[in-house]
Protein backbone atom coordinates (compact mmCIF):
# COMPACT_ATOMS: atom_id res chain seq x y z
CA UNK A 1 0.00 0.00 0.00
CA UNK A 2 1.35 3.43 -0.94
CA UNK A 3 1.58 6.13 1.70
CA UNK A 4 -1.42 8.31 2.35
CA UNK A 5 -2.61 10.73 4.97
CA UNK A 6 -5.37 9.40 7.23
CA UNK A 7 -8.09 11.77 8.38
CA UNK A 8 -10.85 10.90 10.78
CA UNK A 9 -13.86 13.19 10.73
CA UNK A 10 -16.85 13.46 13.04
CA UNK A 11 -19.36 15.16 10.75
CA UNK A 12 -20.40 15.05 7.11
CA UNK A 13 -19.44 18.73 6.77
CA UNK A 14 -15.90 17.97 7.98
CA UNK A 15 -15.71 15.01 5.58
CA UNK A 16 -16.63 17.22 2.63
CA UNK A 17 -14.16 19.91 3.71
CA UNK A 18 -11.39 17.31 4.04
CA UNK A 19 -12.17 15.97 0.58
CA UNK A 20 -12.19 19.43 -0.99
CA UNK A 21 -8.78 20.25 0.48
CA UNK A 22 -7.20 16.92 -0.53
CA UNK A 23 -5.19 16.42 -3.72
CA UNK A 24 -6.72 13.07 -4.51
CA UNK A 25 -8.87 12.05 -1.57
CA UNK A 26 -11.04 9.01 -1.05
CA UNK A 27 -13.72 8.36 1.53
CA UNK A 28 -13.47 5.08 3.39
CA UNK A 29 -16.51 3.50 5.03
CA UNK A 30 -15.94 -0.05 6.30
CA UNK A 31 -12.87 -0.41 4.13
CA UNK A 32 -13.54 -4.01 3.14
CA UNK A 33 -13.04 -3.19 -0.53
CA UNK A 34 -11.08 0.05 -0.20
CA UNK A 35 -8.17 -1.40 1.77
CA UNK A 36 -7.66 -4.50 -0.42
CA UNK A 37 -7.84 -2.22 -3.48
CA UNK A 38 -5.15 0.02 -1.99
CA UNK A 39 -3.00 -3.00 -1.09
CA UNK A 40 -3.18 -4.08 -4.71
CA UNK A 41 -2.16 -0.54 -5.66
CA UNK A 42 -5.25 -0.22 -7.78
CA UNK A 43 -6.04 2.88 -5.72
CA UNK A 44 -3.50 5.24 -4.21
CA UNK A 45 -5.33 8.18 -2.65
CA UNK A 46 -3.33 11.05 -1.16
CA UNK A 47 -5.82 11.27 1.69
CA UNK A 48 -8.07 8.63 3.20
CA UNK A 49 -11.05 10.26 4.90
CA UNK A 50 -12.62 7.87 7.40
CA UNK A 51 -16.40 8.23 7.79
CA UNK A 52 -16.38 5.75 10.70
CA UNK A 53 -16.52 8.46 13.34
CA UNK A 54 -19.74 10.05 12.08
CA UNK A 55 -22.32 8.64 14.46
CA UNK A 56 -25.21 10.26 12.57
CA UNK A 57 -24.61 7.94 9.62
CA UNK A 58 -25.15 4.79 11.65
CA UNK A 59 -28.50 3.26 12.46
CA UNK A 60 -31.81 1.90 11.20
CA UNK A 61 -35.16 3.67 11.43
CA UNK A 62 -38.56 2.41 10.37
CA UNK A 63 -41.80 4.25 9.79
CA UNK A 64 -45.14 3.11 8.35
CA UNK A 65 -43.89 2.17 4.93
CA UNK A 66 -40.15 2.79 4.75
CA UNK A 67 -36.96 1.29 6.13
CA UNK A 68 -34.16 3.85 6.30
CA UNK A 69 -30.64 2.56 6.82
CA UNK A 70 -27.80 4.93 7.69
CA UNK A 71 -24.89 4.76 5.25
CA UNK A 72 -22.39 3.50 7.85
CA UNK A 73 -24.65 0.71 9.13
CA UNK A 74 -22.85 -2.60 8.84
CA UNK A 75 -24.16 -5.64 6.99
CA UNK A 76 -24.14 -7.50 10.33
CA UNK A 77 -26.40 -4.85 11.88
CA UNK A 78 -28.89 -4.98 9.00
CA UNK A 79 -28.91 -8.79 9.04
CA UNK A 80 -29.47 -8.90 12.81
CA UNK A 81 -32.10 -6.15 12.93
CA UNK A 82 -35.39 -7.65 14.08
CA UNK A 83 -37.14 -4.60 12.59
CA UNK A 84 -35.67 -5.13 9.12
CA UNK A 85 -36.35 -8.87 9.40
CA UNK A 86 -40.06 -8.05 9.81
CA UNK A 87 -40.34 -5.06 7.46
CA UNK A 88 -38.31 -6.37 4.48
CA UNK A 89 -37.09 -9.87 5.34
CA UNK A 90 -35.39 -10.30 1.96
CA UNK A 91 -33.18 -7.29 2.69
CA UNK A 92 -32.03 -8.65 6.06
CA UNK A 93 -31.31 -12.00 4.42
CA UNK A 94 -29.33 -10.35 1.62
CA UNK A 95 -27.18 -8.48 4.15
CA UNK A 96 -26.56 -11.70 6.08
CA UNK A 97 -25.13 -13.40 3.00
CA UNK A 98 -22.59 -10.77 1.98
CA UNK A 99 -18.99 -11.98 2.29
CA UNK A 100 -18.36 -13.66 5.64
CA UNK A 101 -19.08 -12.76 9.29
CA UNK A 102 -15.89 -10.73 9.85
CA UNK A 103 -16.43 -8.79 6.63
CA UNK A 104 -20.08 -8.17 7.59
CA UNK A 105 -18.91 -6.71 10.90
CA UNK A 106 -17.05 -3.94 9.03
CA UNK A 107 -18.65 -3.58 5.60
CA UNK A 108 -21.39 -0.97 5.24
CA UNK A 109 -24.35 -0.35 2.95
CA UNK A 110 -23.05 3.08 1.96
CA UNK A 111 -19.64 1.71 1.09
CA UNK A 112 -21.14 -1.13 -0.91
CA UNK A 113 -23.33 1.01 -3.13
CA UNK A 114 -20.78 3.84 -3.50
CA UNK A 115 -18.25 1.29 -4.74
CA UNK A 116 -20.80 -0.30 -7.09
CA UNK A 117 -18.92 -3.52 -7.68
CA UNK A 118 -20.62 -5.29 -10.62
CA UNK A 119 -21.11 -8.35 -8.38
CA UNK A 120 -22.19 -6.63 -5.14
CA UNK A 121 -25.52 -7.65 -3.59
CA UNK A 122 -27.03 -4.39 -2.32
CA UNK A 123 -27.38 -2.72 -5.74
CA UNK A 124 -29.94 -5.36 -6.78
CA UNK A 125 -32.07 -4.50 -3.74
CA UNK A 126 -31.72 -0.74 -4.22
CA UNK A 127 -32.98 -1.11 -7.79
CA UNK A 128 -35.73 -3.70 -7.25
CA UNK A 129 -37.19 -2.04 -4.16
CA UNK A 130 -37.11 1.39 -5.79
CA UNK A 131 -34.99 2.75 -2.95
CA UNK A 132 -33.87 6.34 -2.58
CA UNK A 133 -30.20 7.13 -1.96
CA UNK A 134 -29.90 10.15 0.33
CA UNK A 135 -26.74 12.24 0.23
CA UNK A 136 -25.54 15.46 1.83
CA UNK A 137 -26.71 17.25 -1.33
CA UNK A 138 -29.84 15.54 -2.65
CA UNK A 139 -31.98 12.45 -2.97
CA UNK A 140 -31.15 10.12 -5.86
CA UNK A 141 -33.66 7.54 -7.14
CA UNK A 142 -32.19 4.04 -6.95
CA UNK A 143 -32.78 3.58 -10.68
CA UNK A 144 -30.48 6.49 -11.48
CA UNK A 145 -27.77 5.86 -8.92
CA UNK A 146 -25.73 3.12 -10.59
CA UNK A 147 -24.30 4.53 -13.80
CA UNK A 148 -21.61 2.07 -14.90
CA UNK A 149 -18.98 -0.38 -13.69
CA UNK A 150 -17.72 1.00 -10.34
CA UNK A 151 -19.43 4.28 -11.24
CA UNK A 152 -22.32 6.06 -9.60
CA UNK A 153 -24.18 9.35 -9.79
CA UNK A 154 -22.20 10.63 -6.79
CA UNK A 155 -19.97 13.69 -7.13
CA UNK A 156 -16.40 13.46 -5.76
CA UNK A 157 -17.27 15.33 -2.59
CA UNK A 158 -20.76 13.87 -2.14
CA UNK A 159 -21.42 11.63 0.86
CA UNK A 160 -24.21 9.07 1.09
CA UNK A 161 -26.05 9.62 4.37
CA UNK A 162 -28.76 6.93 4.16
CA UNK A 163 -30.73 4.62 1.89
CA UNK A 164 -34.54 4.47 2.17
CA UNK A 165 -36.28 1.29 1.10
CA UNK A 166 -40.06 1.28 0.60
CA UNK A 167 -41.74 -1.79 2.07
CA UNK A 168 -43.32 -4.12 -0.46
CA UNK A 169 -45.86 -6.95 -0.35
CA UNK A 170 -43.35 -9.65 -1.21
CA UNK A 171 -39.68 -9.76 -2.04
CA UNK A 172 -36.89 -12.30 -2.41
CA UNK A 173 -33.24 -12.25 -3.39
CA UNK A 174 -31.51 -15.24 -4.90
CA UNK A 175 -27.86 -15.35 -5.76
CA UNK A 176 -25.63 -17.88 -7.39
CA UNK A 177 -22.51 -17.11 -5.46
CA UNK A 178 -18.86 -17.60 -6.13
CA UNK A 179 -17.92 -20.26 -3.56
CA UNK A 180 -14.70 -18.46 -2.57
CA UNK A 181 -15.65 -14.80 -2.47
CA UNK A 182 -19.45 -15.07 -1.98
CA UNK A 183 -19.84 -12.36 -4.59
CA UNK A 184 -22.82 -12.87 -6.87
CA UNK A 185 -21.99 -14.55 -10.17
CA UNK A 186 -25.63 -13.64 -10.76
CA UNK A 187 -28.03 -12.26 -8.15
CA UNK A 188 -31.69 -11.39 -8.76
CA UNK A 189 -33.90 -9.38 -6.41
CA UNK A 190 -37.62 -9.59 -7.14
CA UNK A 191 -40.07 -7.22 -5.41
CA UNK A 192 -43.85 -7.22 -5.78
CA UNK A 193 -46.24 -4.53 -4.61
CA UNK A 194 -49.86 -4.79 -5.68
CA UNK A 195 -49.72 -5.62 -9.40
CA UNK A 196 -46.31 -4.04 -9.91
CA UNK A 197 -43.22 -6.22 -10.12
CA UNK A 198 -39.65 -4.91 -10.14
CA UNK A 199 -36.55 -6.97 -10.83
CA UNK A 200 -32.99 -5.92 -9.92
CA UNK A 201 -30.10 -7.91 -11.39
CA UNK A 202 -26.49 -7.89 -10.23
CA UNK A 203 -23.39 -9.84 -11.27
CA UNK A 204 -24.66 -10.44 -14.78
CA UNK A 205 -23.53 -7.25 -16.52
CA UNK A 206 -20.95 -4.50 -15.85
CA UNK A 207 -23.47 -2.64 -13.69
CA UNK A 208 -26.54 -3.71 -11.73
CA UNK A 209 -29.71 -2.95 -13.66
CA UNK A 210 -33.48 -3.44 -13.86
CA UNK A 211 -34.64 -6.57 -15.62
CA UNK A 212 -37.22 -4.87 -17.84
CA UNK A 213 -37.94 -7.96 -19.95
CA UNK A 214 -38.49 -10.05 -16.83
CA UNK A 215 -40.68 -7.35 -15.29
CA UNK A 216 -42.83 -7.26 -18.43
CA UNK A 217 -43.29 -11.02 -18.26
CA UNK A 218 -44.04 -11.08 -14.54
CA UNK A 219 -46.45 -8.15 -14.50
CA UNK A 220 -49.84 -9.76 -14.75
CA UNK A 221 -48.51 -13.31 -14.50
CA UNK A 222 -46.40 -13.52 -11.38
CA UNK A 223 -45.26 -17.11 -11.75
CA UNK A 224 -42.09 -19.08 -12.36
CA UNK A 225 -43.56 -20.22 -15.68
CA UNK A 226 -43.76 -16.62 -16.91
CA UNK A 227 -39.96 -16.42 -16.79
CA UNK A 228 -39.43 -19.29 -19.22
CA UNK A 229 -40.22 -17.43 -22.45
CA UNK A 230 -38.10 -14.37 -21.66
CA UNK A 231 -35.08 -13.89 -23.89
CA UNK A 232 -31.99 -12.67 -22.00
CA UNK A 233 -29.49 -10.86 -24.28
CA UNK A 234 -26.32 -12.96 -24.05
CA UNK A 235 -24.20 -10.25 -25.71
CA UNK A 236 -24.77 -7.93 -22.74
CA UNK A 237 -23.60 -10.46 -20.13
CA UNK A 238 -20.20 -10.49 -18.42
CA UNK A 239 -17.88 -13.32 -19.38
CA UNK A 240 -14.90 -14.21 -17.18
CA UNK A 241 -13.14 -17.12 -15.47
CA UNK A 242 -16.13 -17.59 -13.17
CA UNK A 243 -18.85 -17.93 -15.78
CA UNK A 244 -19.40 -17.45 -19.51
CA UNK A 245 -21.94 -14.97 -20.89
CA UNK A 246 -24.21 -17.85 -21.94
CA UNK A 247 -24.10 -19.33 -18.45
CA UNK A 248 -24.84 -15.99 -16.84
CA UNK A 249 -27.83 -15.44 -19.15
CA UNK A 250 -29.11 -18.85 -18.08
CA UNK A 251 -28.52 -18.07 -14.41
CA UNK A 252 -30.51 -14.81 -14.66
CA UNK A 253 -33.62 -16.82 -15.48
CA UNK A 254 -32.94 -19.55 -12.91
CA UNK A 255 -32.35 -17.02 -10.11
CA UNK A 256 -35.45 -15.04 -11.15
CA UNK A 257 -37.55 -18.19 -11.12
CA UNK A 258 -36.28 -19.13 -7.67
CA UNK A 259 -36.91 -15.63 -6.36
CA UNK A 260 -40.47 -15.66 -7.72
CA UNK A 261 -41.05 -19.06 -6.13
CA UNK A 262 -39.68 -17.77 -2.83
CA UNK A 263 -42.16 -14.87 -2.98
CA UNK A 264 -45.20 -17.11 -3.20
Amino acid sequence: MYEFSYKKVSSVEDAVAAMQSADDGKFVAGGQTMLPTMKHRLASPSDLIDLGGIGALNGISIDDDTVTIGAMTTHASVAASSEVQVAIPALAKLAGNIGDPAVRNRGTIGGSIANNDPAADYPAAVIALGATVKTNKREIPGDEFFTGMFETALAEDEVITAVSFPMVDKAAYMKFENPASRYAIVGVFVAKSGDSVRVGITGATPCAHRGMRLEAALNGNFSAAAVEGVKIPVEKMNSDIHASAEYRAHLVKVMTRRAVEACS
Binding site: L35, D100, A102, V103
Partner: protein, 156 residues
Protein backbone atom coordinates in the same frame (compact mmCIF):
# COMPACT_ATOMS: atom_id res chain seq x y z
CA UNK B 1 3.02 9.38 11.47
CA UNK B 2 0.33 9.28 14.08
CA UNK B 3 -0.16 8.09 17.62
CA UNK B 4 -2.54 5.22 18.15
CA UNK B 5 -3.81 4.07 21.52
CA UNK B 6 -5.90 1.03 22.27
CA UNK B 7 -6.36 -1.78 24.73
CA UNK B 8 -4.93 -5.11 23.57
CA UNK B 9 -5.84 -8.13 25.67
CA UNK B 10 -6.72 -5.82 28.53
CA UNK B 11 -3.44 -3.89 28.49
CA UNK B 12 -3.13 -0.27 27.33
CA UNK B 13 -1.00 0.10 24.22
CA UNK B 14 0.35 3.20 22.53
CA UNK B 15 2.40 3.34 19.33
CA UNK B 16 3.76 5.83 16.80
CA UNK B 17 2.79 4.45 13.41
CA UNK B 18 2.70 5.30 9.75
CA UNK B 19 -0.87 6.10 8.72
CA UNK B 20 -0.94 3.03 6.47
CA UNK B 21 -0.06 0.54 9.23
CA UNK B 22 -2.53 -2.32 9.37
CA UNK B 23 -3.86 -3.58 12.68
CA UNK B 24 -2.23 -6.95 12.06
CA UNK B 25 1.14 -5.23 11.56
CA UNK B 26 0.78 -3.37 14.86
CA UNK B 27 -0.08 -6.62 16.62
CA UNK B 28 2.67 -8.73 15.10
CA UNK B 29 5.53 -6.31 14.49
CA UNK B 30 5.17 -3.73 17.25
CA UNK B 31 3.59 -5.79 20.01
CA UNK B 32 5.15 -9.12 18.98
CA UNK B 33 1.79 -10.85 19.32
CA UNK B 34 2.54 -13.28 16.52
CA UNK B 35 -0.35 -15.62 17.25
CA UNK B 36 -2.43 -13.56 14.82
CA UNK B 37 -1.32 -14.76 11.41
CA UNK B 38 -1.17 -13.23 7.95
CA UNK B 39 -2.31 -15.79 5.42
CA UNK B 40 -3.75 -14.44 2.20
CA UNK B 41 -3.50 -10.72 3.06
CA UNK B 42 -6.61 -10.22 0.91
CA UNK B 43 -9.32 -10.64 3.60
CA UNK B 44 -10.34 -14.09 2.47
CA UNK B 45 -8.53 -16.67 4.61
CA UNK B 46 -9.35 -15.53 8.15
CA UNK B 47 -5.96 -16.37 9.70
CA UNK B 48 -5.81 -12.77 10.98
CA UNK B 49 -9.21 -12.66 12.71
CA UNK B 50 -9.19 -10.78 16.04
CA UNK B 51 -11.95 -9.15 18.05
CA UNK B 52 -12.35 -5.36 18.02
CA UNK B 53 -14.88 -4.12 20.56
CA UNK B 54 -16.25 -7.63 20.85
CA UNK B 55 -16.80 -8.50 17.20
CA UNK B 56 -14.64 -10.46 14.79
CA UNK B 57 -12.71 -8.54 12.15
CA UNK B 58 -9.98 -9.36 9.68
CA UNK B 59 -7.01 -7.46 11.07
CA UNK B 60 -5.31 -7.39 7.65
CA UNK B 61 -8.22 -5.30 6.38
CA UNK B 62 -8.34 -2.69 9.12
CA UNK B 63 -5.90 0.14 9.66
CA UNK B 64 -4.39 0.23 13.13
CA UNK B 65 -5.65 3.80 13.46
CA UNK B 66 -9.20 2.62 12.76
CA UNK B 67 -8.95 0.65 16.01
CA UNK B 68 -7.81 3.73 17.93
CA UNK B 69 -9.49 3.70 21.33
CA UNK B 70 -10.86 0.21 20.81
CA UNK B 71 -10.62 -2.93 22.91
CA UNK B 72 -8.78 -5.56 20.90
CA UNK B 73 -8.58 -9.24 21.83
CA UNK B 74 -6.17 -11.62 20.12
CA UNK B 75 -5.60 -15.35 20.52
CA UNK B 76 -3.00 -14.52 23.20
CA UNK B 77 -5.73 -12.93 25.32
CA UNK B 78 -7.85 -16.05 25.73
CA UNK B 79 -5.94 -18.32 28.13
CA UNK B 80 -6.15 -17.23 31.76
CA UNK B 81 -3.44 -18.07 34.31
CA UNK B 82 -2.01 -20.78 32.12
CA UNK B 83 -5.37 -22.46 31.59
CA UNK B 84 -6.58 -22.67 28.01
CA UNK B 85 -9.90 -21.09 27.07
CA UNK B 86 -12.59 -23.80 26.66
CA UNK B 87 -12.58 -23.19 22.89
CA UNK B 88 -8.80 -23.67 22.70
CA UNK B 89 -9.10 -26.81 24.81
CA UNK B 90 -11.84 -28.12 22.51
CA UNK B 91 -9.57 -27.70 19.46
CA UNK B 92 -6.87 -29.67 21.32
CA UNK B 93 -9.25 -32.42 22.45
CA UNK B 94 -10.89 -32.86 19.04
CA UNK B 95 -7.77 -32.75 16.89
CA UNK B 96 -9.08 -29.47 15.45
CA UNK B 97 -5.69 -28.51 14.06
CA UNK B 98 -3.12 -30.09 11.83
CA UNK B 99 -0.44 -27.60 10.81
CA UNK B 100 -2.05 -25.00 13.07
CA UNK B 101 -1.64 -21.98 10.81
CA UNK B 102 -5.34 -21.21 10.53
CA UNK B 103 -6.11 -22.14 14.15
CA UNK B 104 -5.88 -18.72 15.86
CA UNK B 105 -8.31 -17.26 13.32
CA UNK B 106 -10.56 -20.30 13.58
CA UNK B 107 -10.71 -19.97 17.39
CA UNK B 108 -11.43 -16.23 17.26
CA UNK B 109 -14.16 -16.75 14.64
CA UNK B 110 -15.54 -19.66 16.69
CA UNK B 111 -16.01 -17.38 19.70
CA UNK B 112 -17.87 -14.90 17.51
CA UNK B 113 -20.09 -17.74 16.27
CA UNK B 114 -20.91 -18.86 19.82
CA UNK B 115 -21.65 -15.31 20.87
CA UNK B 116 -24.22 -14.91 18.10
CA UNK B 117 -25.64 -18.42 17.96
CA UNK B 118 -25.37 -19.77 21.50
CA UNK B 119 -23.74 -22.84 23.00
CA UNK B 120 -26.05 -25.32 21.20
CA UNK B 121 -25.08 -24.06 17.72
CA UNK B 122 -25.72 -26.78 15.10
CA UNK B 123 -23.25 -28.19 12.62
CA UNK B 124 -24.78 -26.55 9.53
CA UNK B 125 -24.60 -23.13 11.16
CA UNK B 126 -20.97 -23.63 12.18
CA UNK B 127 -20.03 -24.68 8.65
CA UNK B 128 -21.77 -21.67 7.11
CA UNK B 129 -20.38 -19.22 9.65
CA UNK B 130 -16.82 -20.46 9.14
CA UNK B 131 -16.96 -19.49 5.47
CA UNK B 132 -14.47 -16.67 6.05
CA UNK B 133 -11.83 -19.00 7.51
CA UNK B 134 -9.82 -21.28 5.27
CA UNK B 135 -7.88 -24.37 6.42
CA UNK B 136 -5.47 -25.58 3.75
CA UNK B 137 -4.93 -28.87 5.56
CA UNK B 138 -8.68 -29.16 4.86
CA UNK B 139 -9.30 -30.36 8.38
CA UNK B 140 -12.76 -28.84 8.49
CA UNK B 141 -14.53 -31.86 9.92
CA UNK B 142 -12.61 -31.78 13.18
CA UNK B 143 -12.65 -27.98 13.26
CA UNK B 144 -16.46 -28.04 13.17
CA UNK B 145 -16.49 -30.71 15.88
CA UNK B 146 -14.13 -28.56 17.95
CA UNK B 147 -16.30 -25.46 17.61
CA UNK B 148 -19.41 -27.34 18.68
CA UNK B 149 -17.59 -28.97 21.62
CA UNK B 150 -16.08 -25.64 22.65
CA UNK B 151 -19.47 -23.96 22.41
CA UNK B 152 -20.97 -26.65 24.61
CA UNK B 153 -18.32 -26.37 27.29
CA UNK B 154 -18.57 -22.55 27.24
CA UNK B 155 -22.27 -22.93 27.94
CA UNK B 156 -21.37 -24.89 31.08
Amino acid sequence: MLTVKMSVNGKPVSAELEDRTLLVQLLRENLRLTGTHIGCDTSQCGACVVHVNGVSVKSCTLLAVQADGAEVTTIEGLAKNGVLHPMQQAFMDNHGLQCGFCTPGMVMSALDIVKRNGSAVDEATVRKELEGNICRCTGYHNIVKSVQAGAKSMGG
